[in-house]
């Protein structure tokens, strides 16, 4: 193993890798990447103590752009991969990044169960209400009447998936919404999310300028949430009833104990277990 490098404080630039993102110019994900590096700098975490896990999609490309350990896994399965990693290596800071299709369509089941299980992870979903990587189909968060998805020419005709509602209903311990139009604000939210014990979920509105160019206007629609975060699920639920999906900020901070199995604790000698087999 390498000797630990000198412990001089790192700037956000130190958390960016040398790789050039494949994203389209203007894609919201650039800002999210910068928010993540800023948050990591603010938290002063050592790059080797961080892991970013993702599935597949434009947003899911992020791990390789961050100077940290990363895993760019298969589509929709980032959360269980991160869960395994965090349980086996509880001392690491584990972030999970991806898109709305990856997280809520093929990955929907893991999202439900990750919220319930409440492992100490931070899940950052760059929501652009579209499948960017596969060139513009409707995602679960797409509006029912969006007619430009080529698999749903008449519009999906389905009520959009409500990420914050589902996160709350399934028990996420920290729930927030950020916007890629304000990377510094997003960075502050991420710092909080990462610090908060248990499963933290942050939806980041991150326009797909290529397949949803109208989302460029989001930056005019977002605003700070009118009220402070709550630690009462009921109150949070009520707030979501009037949420138009442009309120930015922390919605909910819970107090549930993170799920952690006692990994690596000292134990029996294997011989004791083998004894059970003796006739």
């Amino acid at each position: 193993m390498k000797p630990a490098e000198s412990q001089t404080p790192l700037t956000f630039r130190d958390y960016a890798s040398a790789l050039k993102p494949v994203w389209c110019p203007g894609c919201g994900d650039f800002s999210v990447l910068s928010a993540i590096t800023k948050a990591l700098a603010e938290l002063a975490l050592r790059p080797e103590e961080i892991a970013l896990v993702s599935g597949i999609g434009c947003a899911a490309r992020i791990p390789a752009y961050v100077n940290a350990y990363g895993f760019h896994g298969v589509h929709g399965r980032a959360l269980p991969l991160a869960t395994g990693l965090k349980i086996a290596r509880p001392e690491l800071t584990v972030l999970v990044t991806g898109g709305d299709g990856d997280g809520f369509s093929i990955g929907g089941n893991h999202f439900l169960h990750a919220c319930r299980r409440n492992v100490d992870l931070t899940y950052i979903v760059m929501d652009n209400q579209v499948y960017g990587m596969t060139k513009g189909q409707a995602s679960p968060t797409t509006e029912p009447d969006w007619e430009r998805g080529k698999l749903t020419p008449g519009g999906p005709q389905i009520n959009p998936f409500q990420p914050l509602v589902i996160a709350l209903a399934s028990g996420a311990n920290f729930i927030a919404r950020a916007s890629s139009s304000d990377p510094n604000g997003a960075a502050r939210l991420l710092v909080e999310a990462i610090r908060h014990p248990g499963f933290s979920f942050v939806q980041v509105l991150s326009p797909c300028v290529t397949y949803r160019p109208e989302q460029r206007h989001w930056k005019k629609l977002v605003r700070p949430a009118p009220v402070e975060a709550t630690d009462e699920p009921a109150r949070a639920a009520r707030r979501l009833l009037t949420d138009d999906s442009f309120n930015i900020g922390v919605l909910y901070r819970g107090h549930r104990k993170p799920y952690q199995l006692a990994m690596g604790s000292a134990g029996d000698n294997l011989t004791l277990i083998e004894e059970e087999f003796s006739t």
Partner: protein, 581 residues
């Protein structure tokens, strides 16, 4: 192992009855008591479709010599009642020399059994039990069988105490009384064949199922992280592990589905912890996409498939060797990985331990193909020898260039590249299922793809798997190639042939993939006839061998689907006929 083995060395007993008759309890206690009295042996459970209760049969074979598989026939059928016994007809290989004991008040004996004209005893188990306080017919049956096998009553009582003592004095006393009464009833029964004489020797015996042995192999190999979703017949392996992992500093995570469990395992292993999941056919199918990720991103994982009858949901409770194709070929793209299979119940331990070793050494996915017959048969065996396989992953050395220069997928000669673990400073990299260059950066260029495909193929193809690749035994110019739970009956057939002066070779493949043509060629040098023995409808092993090996001489296939095992007698007969001029 292939030493002579004659019919008089063992005795086979089927104990059957309908729901609630307590057949399994009696069978287990009999096996334990036999084990403590010096017998080797095994017991398989067969039950009907009911979730719980329902008709059941405990199929026992007790033997003076180590054995883990069943004989061609049963010497004794004891039916606590006759209701639904017909459903087991195909599994109960009875003949005119068998002895049939049953309760004439418990329904009518199936025609197929009447037709055998076997020696037959009526014992009014239910009526006699009723006359005793807390009496149960299954304890009478246990007593009868113990007596017929000359198992000392004291041993049976001791096992009973351990097994049902917790149910209270009264229950225990009633059971003991039942066993005693049963032993008396046995006096009337004439087996018509000698009972093997056994002695409790010096060697220590173990009593375990293949699923437990698999669990122990995992722990021995160093697995400390297991994630899984329950599925028959793998669940009891997982349950065994769930109770024991915490005792050795490990954890078991119950996942929401199989995609979750395999990815949890990949994540834990990426973090440096040897990790395993166990499942059965349907679950393995669901995991294949992500097993491909482990192959492409070069993350060690072990996946145990305890095979059951297929296709689809198939026959969840019964055995078949029909997931070979899926395990070997079921990944999209060219994805070299390793497939191994235990050749006996005891070998489940060794093979699983080896699998962990291979996964860690090769940084790839290793699939262990166990099956229901191995996994859920309980056997009394000699304590298995310790094997020295440990989990050892190549980590970066001190000389590894850090600060962005680390090449996770370096093109080494062996194909194995040192793997950094989170926490190691300066070696941060991103593991990727996209094709990549040496550094792990995604690449769609032909050169990178070819280089990484070569590397991943090379590390598996050039690895020295050593002696464990197969159990090679015996001599002669005929050979049998087999695998998994078909090895037991094959071994026994070859022992019989050897005793008849017809030596025959055995190659029981432990390493199914990658193929080892040079080793097999050596093992089969001089062989003129090869019989491939397996339990599948599509002759999967036979086809697989054709694809990858040049088998010498004439090749035949003896294959049948589950749930009926291939029997030693059939194998012997097939070879005998074939060698007749």
């Amino acid at each position: 192992m292939t030493a002579s083995f004659s019919a008089s060395d063992s005795i086979s007993i089927a104990l059957a009855g309908s729901g609630g008759a307590g057949v399994m309890t009696a069978g287990s206690i009999l096996l334990d008591a036999a084990g403590q009295s010096g017998w080797y042996g095994c017991m398989t459970r067969s039950s009907g479709p009911q979730i719980r209760g329902g008709e059941a049969a405990a199929l026992l074979r007790l033997s003076r010599r180590p054995t883990e598989s069943h004989d061609d026939r049963f010497d004794v059928l004891l039916a606590i009642d006759w209701h639904n016994v017909a459903r087991f007809a195909a599994e109960l290989m009875l003949d005119g020399d068998s002895v049939v004991v049953g309760d004439p008040q418990g329904g009518t004996m199936p025609d197929a059994i009447v037709a055998l004209r076997a020696r037959h005893y009526d014992v009014e188990l239910k009526k006699i039990a009723k006359q005793m306080r807390g009496g149960r017919p299954n304890m009478l049956a246990l007593g009868m069988l113990s007596a017929l096998l000359r198992i000392p009553l004291t041993v049976v009582v001791a096992v009973l105490e351990a097994a049902i003592g917790a149910k209270g004095e009264q229950v225990l006393a009633a059971s003991v009384a039942g066993v005693q009464r049963g032993a008396e009833l046995a006096g009337a029964v004439e087996l018509g064949r000698p009972v093997p004489v056994v002695e409790r020797g010096e060697t220590r015996r173990w009593r375990l199922t293949g699923n437990e042995a698999t669990g122990l192999g995992a722990l021995r190999g160093g697995v400390r992280f297991v994630a899984a979703y329950p599925i028959t017949p793998a669940t009891d392996c997982l349950e065994w592990l769930a109770a024991r992992l915490p005792r050795v500093g490990g954890v078991l995570l119950q996942a929401e589905d199989e995609m979750a469990s395999i990815n949890q395992v990949i994540g834990a292993s990426f973090g440096g912890c040897p990790a395993l999941t166990a499942t059965s056919g349907p679950g393995l199918a669901l995991m294949m996409e992500s097993i491909g990720l482990a192959v492409a991103a070069e993350v060690p994982v072990v996946v145990v498939d305890v095979m059951r009858g297929g296709p689809s949901t198939g026959i969840p409770t019964k055995s078949e060797q029909s997931d070979l194709n899926l395990a070997v070929y079921g990944l999209h793209g060219d994805a070299p990985h390793v497939v191994v299979a235990p050749t006996s119940i005891a070998d489940c331990m060794r093979t699983t331990q080896w699998a962990v070793h291979l996964a860690e050494a090769l940084q790839t996915a290793v699939i262990v193909l166990s099956d229901q017959a191995l996994g859920q048969t309980r056997a009394v065996i000699d304590k298995p020898a310790d094997v020295a396989f440990v989990a050892k992953r190549a980590l970066p050395g001190d000389a590894e260039p850090g600060a962005g220069a680390y090449r996770r997928y370096a093109l080494t000669e062996s194909g194995i590249s040192p793997m950094a673990l989170p926490g190691m400073a300066g070696l941060q990299y991103t593991a990727d299922g996209l094709e990549h260059n040496e550094s792990g950066t995604p690449s769609s260029q032909a050169q990178d793809h070819a280089a990484q495909l070569d590397k991943r193929a090379r590390k598996v193809a050039h690895f020295n798997f050593g002696e464990s690749w197969a159990d090679v035994e015996g001599d002669g110019d005929m050979a049998i190639i087999t695998w998994g739970s078909s090895t037991g009956p094959t071994r026994e057939a070859l022992a019989r042939l050897a005793a008849e002066g017809k030596p025959t070779r055995l190659v029981a493949l432990r390493l199914l993939s990658p193929p080892q043509p040079a080793l097999l060629e050596e093992a089969l040098a001089g062989v003129r006839r090869v019989l491939v023995v397996e339990q599948s409808h599509g002759r999967q092993l036979y086809r697989y061998l054709r694809a990858h090996y040049a088998l010498p001489g004439e090749v035949r296939s003896l294959s049948r689907p589950g749930p009926l095992p291939v029997r030693p007698g059939e194998i012997r007969q097939q070879l005998t006929q074939w060698s007749q001029p």
